[in-house]
Symmetry: C2
């Protein structure tokens, strides 16, 4: 099965999405992580084409007009979006593509792209999520509280997803994502008819 699949991964802040995805990229061949585009300025340590594609407002808006985004949003004066070109290029050459995006972005992708698999990563408990957010320690108590309240809002979207994984043990969570990616390739779809026809011709 040469066709690549799109995997959309969401979940509240600090739930461990990035760590899981890095492990998947190390573990599995022919998997590409989509890099988002944004108009906000690069922060210290961020690299063009790795952290984000950093675009000017003019560039971003020109690409919107050219239908260049799978989804985009305008948040606090800046654009954020998923460029179509990278996703399409990799899917066409048979790679799986992972999008790590928030629930709003995921819902927009769902509207425009057929056939993706949507995975929601959950914390083992709300208490644990609070711990993980606090442990990051880069923010004020208010900012942490805002993240918690945003997380609760995001979890409401759970039933719009196809799969959920509770990130209690990292290895188990990685194994579950990997299993989902493998199993999606085994699903009966339009390729089953082609297969059936090949067998009949061979007989």
């Amino acid at each position: 099965m040469l066709k690549g699949r799109l995997f959309v991964i969401s979940g509240p802040s600090a739930v461990g999405k990035g760590t899981i995805i890095n492990e998947i990229l190390n573990l599995k061949d022919r998997v590409s992580l989509s890099v988002s585009a944004t108009t906000r300025a690069p922060r210290a340590g961020e690299t063009e084409g790795v952290s984000y594609y950093f675009l000017t407002h003019e560039d971003f808006e020109a690409r919107i007009k050219n239908d260049g985004f799978l989804e985009y949003a305008y948040v606090h004066g800046n654009y954020y979006g998923t460029p179509k070109a990278h996703v399409e290029e990799y899917l066409e050459k048979g790679w799986d593509v992972i999008l790590e995006i928030d629930v709003q972005g995921a819902m927009k992708v769902k509207e425009s792209y057929d056939g993706g698999a949507y995975i929601f990563i959950l914390p083992p408990s709300i208490k644990e999520l609070r711990n993980r957010i606090n442990k990051r320690g880069t923010e004020s108590a208010e900012a942490a509280e805002l993240r918690m309240s945003k997380a609760m809002g995001e979890i409401e979207y759970l039933d719009k997803y196809d799969y959920f994984i509770i990130n209690d043990d990292l290895d188990e969570a990685v194994n579950a994502v990997s299993a989902i990616m493998t199993s999606e390739h085994q699903k009966i779809d339009e390729s089953a008819e082609a297969l059936l026809n090949r067998f009949k011709e061979e007989n």
Copy 2:
């Protein structure tokens, strides 16, 4: 997720279903293979409760009346069926249950049981299937030809299944079945609402 799942595995004769399932039983915990019941006489080497449950016609028919089978069929003067009790017992204690049954049986299970996952095992090619059937060498040329023709009829049911696996490399096929079994447990179902409610209560 404590709920057990039902996995129905079909595929033509000699495609390697039994070998794959044995590997799965060795590899994964809390998986049980359903044992069929039949009224035919035991053959040399067959063990009661392992190969089959061997029943009298009277016993089998009494169990049919008591709704004791997930599916059954009457073939060449003998009954064959899947006893409900074993399947239900294991699913209830949270084990996954595998049924290795033909397409007719699988379609009957689909009518009566909600929520199973249906996996079809295919040979890499018709030529290879013919080789595998001939290699078994326990049969006449006519019997082998009958198996081939039955196989072609079974493959027609492919699109009634959820997943397909081409058994070219045993390890890959086992890995694919294992991935499907893992991923089915991650699907969003009615348990997602319970999870959501738990998170809200914790907050």
